[in-house]
Amino acid sequence: MTTITATSAPARARTRAGVSRRQWVGLLYVLPAVAFVVVFFVIPLGMTAWMSLNNWPLMGEHAFIGLDNYFAILRDTRFWNALKFTAYYTVIVTIAIFAVAFPLAIFIERPRPLTNLYRTAFFMPAVVGFASASLLWSWLLNVDSGLFSPTAFDLGLTGKKVNLLATFQPAFWSIIAMVVWKVAGFTMIILMTGLQSIPQDLQEAAVIDGAGPFARFRAITLPLMRRTLALALILSVAGSILAFDQFYIILRGGPRNQTLTAVYWIFNQSFVSFKLGYGAALSMVLLVILVALSLIQLWLLRKPEGLD
């Protein structure tokens, strides 16, 4: 009895020491990544959280004011309006992106002549930065020297040059068109990898069983693409909720402040009104909303029980 304890105790200790040494080595390996996350994510996030509790002007002294910024948000109707518009934009643009990207993904999934050319062509706008794309489109949409309005006028389609950016509907849909042009290629690639990961024999078996193309799409393709869809959806929704560049550069939030997004409002509060503390508080609220939305999407698209 005594011998057993005498021999087993040091052995256990040795194992523990070995495990902990291995853990330390492991930690060493991930250290660069951890340092990266801490410096570029955790510290800025903590800083933002701290700023949101202060009255923090762009210049001059700041003072701790507790939760006052958050109480002010509750009364800030223009922020809630901006949030409402952002939600509307997110729904519309996400539907539009998927409506374009899914057919494109199906089109380019299987090898056929010129597939690589199509893939490259569809993907190309995705590598353009949002700001540069916005500048490009703000010229295309310009009523006097752009492309669309003058061309329509010259072809006799319109009686006079129509200023597309002057009223809400054409301005809003112009932005949607621009974003779809810019983003659909990226979503297409994600969806394509999902399509390609579906084993061919499943489809063939279904064909033998007499399933039509629509039934196969609904019963095989969609369920097996669950994870890919979740990824594409979360990327698209998160990107749309954070939309700013295109509304700032092309529309300046107009016509008549009808296209102010949540991030645009945060930008205005921080860098036009110079209330950095309040801007930080708005950012924290938006962060919470974004995390909640992402969790809901993950939950909705989770793997159903029993399905491998």
């Binding site: 020297s145 006079k160 950016l165 939030g253 016509p255 036009v272």
Partner: protein
């Protein structure tokens, strides 16, 4: 062969050492960094070049887009990388000084022999609690410009600009009748800064105002404002204004007239220098922005020169400002688009220049500057109440609603402003 390579190598090393040594020596002259907003992009590089050529100390100039210079400066100041000095839109000087961001230059300013003849509007906004933080650098007044060639084509007297609102509309209509790409009138319909500069003088000249004298009350609901709005609306309705005006956030404020296809446009003194140097083919006239039945007014704008608190390059910055205040400096400024800011030598600085400057200089002398600590929120912000209102009242359907909405929003911004 090998020895030769070694020799060349040694020679190269020696040369490199000499270059590095020389570079170190040159570095003993100081270089100060200054910023200017894009409005100064015509005259500022010229005066900096002239200074750099004549001095051992150097100035490094950065030109920043108008809308970005304030946030960029604030961020740079917080990060300790602010420029040593900047040419700052004069309306911002009080809030910068109040934030403790600027070097107190009172003693130096008062030691200048010509201090008393520096532009009073600038010095007033550059003064905070009795201390001076900003001195005038560039000046700009708002005026009306017209295209003489188009006036002639339209059968108008090319030497006579409009002197009241009815004449503006009548002249613009005649030019507009030339047809084709030619339009009668232009203004940036979605730009708050442009319209405070060129639209409010129409109201002032008719006896109205948009803010009370101390900036504590918004006074938008006036017949003078309504009248000026009706003038613009009528011209828009008759198709005398290009479609692009409705969404112009200021990008075309000057460029539209410079294209040579606009009859009349409210603009600024800066346009004289810019047109003469960049568009010498345009034949234009300059007159005052008139009131409804005559009279005139102008916005006194421009930049104050301010020094960042704690900078080590104060000596260089002062050297540069001394140069800018010299007759040579004032002449360069005037030649490339700013009015002189030294009253005592203004006539001399302008004497060899375009006589049209005299109109602008006279406008400057009688010009007004609205005073408010929330100028950015009220007026300049692309999403602020003033910008939204001008766009709605010039192009929208509900003028009364737009005015009362703006009145309410402006007043609430003023009421919520920090009391300084």
């Amino acid at each position: 062969m090998r020895r030769n390579t070694v020799k060349t190598l040694i020679a190269k090393l020696a040369l490199a050492a000499a270059v590095i040594g020389g570079g170190l020596q040159a570095a003993s002259a100081e270089t100060a960094n200054i910023w200017v907003r894009a409005d100064g992009s015509n005259f500022m590089p010229r005066i900096v070049d002239a200074f750099n050529k004549a001095h051992k100390d150097q100035i490094k100039l950065d030109i920043i887009p108008n809308a970005e210079i304030i946030p960029k400066y604030g961020a740079a100041a917080a990060g300790g990388t602010a420029p040593d000095a900047l040419s700052l839109d004069l309306i911002y000087t009080p809030s910068f000084a109040a934030a403790g961001q600027l070097e107190d230059i009172t003693d130096w300013a008062k030691s200048l022999p010509y201090f008393s003849s520096l532009s009073p509007a600038h010095v007033k906004t550059g003064t905070h609690k009795g201390r001076i933080y900003g001195l005038p650098f560039s000046a700009d007044s708002s005026v009306l410009i017209w295209n003489k060639k188009l006036f002639k084509q339209a059968g108008l007297d090319p030497e006579k600009g409009p002197t009241n609102w009815a004449e503006i509309e009548a002249d613009a209509e005649k030019v507009n009748a030339l047809g084709g790409d030619i339009k009668g009138f232009y203004f940036s319909g979605n730009c708050g800064g442009c319209n405070i500069f060129t639209f409010t003088p129409l109201i002032w000249a008719s006896g109205g105002d948009i803010l009370s004298e101390d900036g504590s009350k918004a006074t938008l609901d006036s017949p003078q404002l309504r009248g000026a709005i009706d003038l613009y609306r009528s011209m828009v309705k008759k198709g005398m204004v290009p479609e692009g005006a409705q969404t112009d956030t200021g990008a075309n404020f000057f460029a539209a007239f410079a294209g040579g296809k606009i009859g009349i446009s409210p603009s600024g003194a800066f346009a004289i220098g810019a047109l003469n140097t960049q568009y010498p083919d345009i034949d234009y006239g300059i007159t005052f922005l008139p009131g409804k039945d005559g009279g005139w007014s102008s916005f006194a704008g421009g930049d104050n020169f301010v020094v960042t608190k704690g900078t080590k390059k104060v000596a260089v910055v002062k050297e540069f400002l001394d140069f800018a205040y010299s007759l040579e400096g004032q002449t360069i400024l005037a030649k490339y688009g700013s009015l002189p800011v030294r009253g005592d030598i203004a006539k001399e600085a302008l004497k060899d220049l375009d006589p049209r400057y005299q109109v602008a200089a006279e406008a400057m002398a009688k010009g007004r500057t609205p005073y408010t600590v929330v100028f950015n929120d009220l007026i300049n912000s692309a999403n602020g109440p003033w910008t939204q209102m001008v766009n709605e009242v010039f192009f929208g359907d509900d003028v009364d609603g737009a005015i009362s909405n703006a009145q309410e929003t402006m007043q609430s911004i003023i009421d919520q402003a920090p009391q300084k």
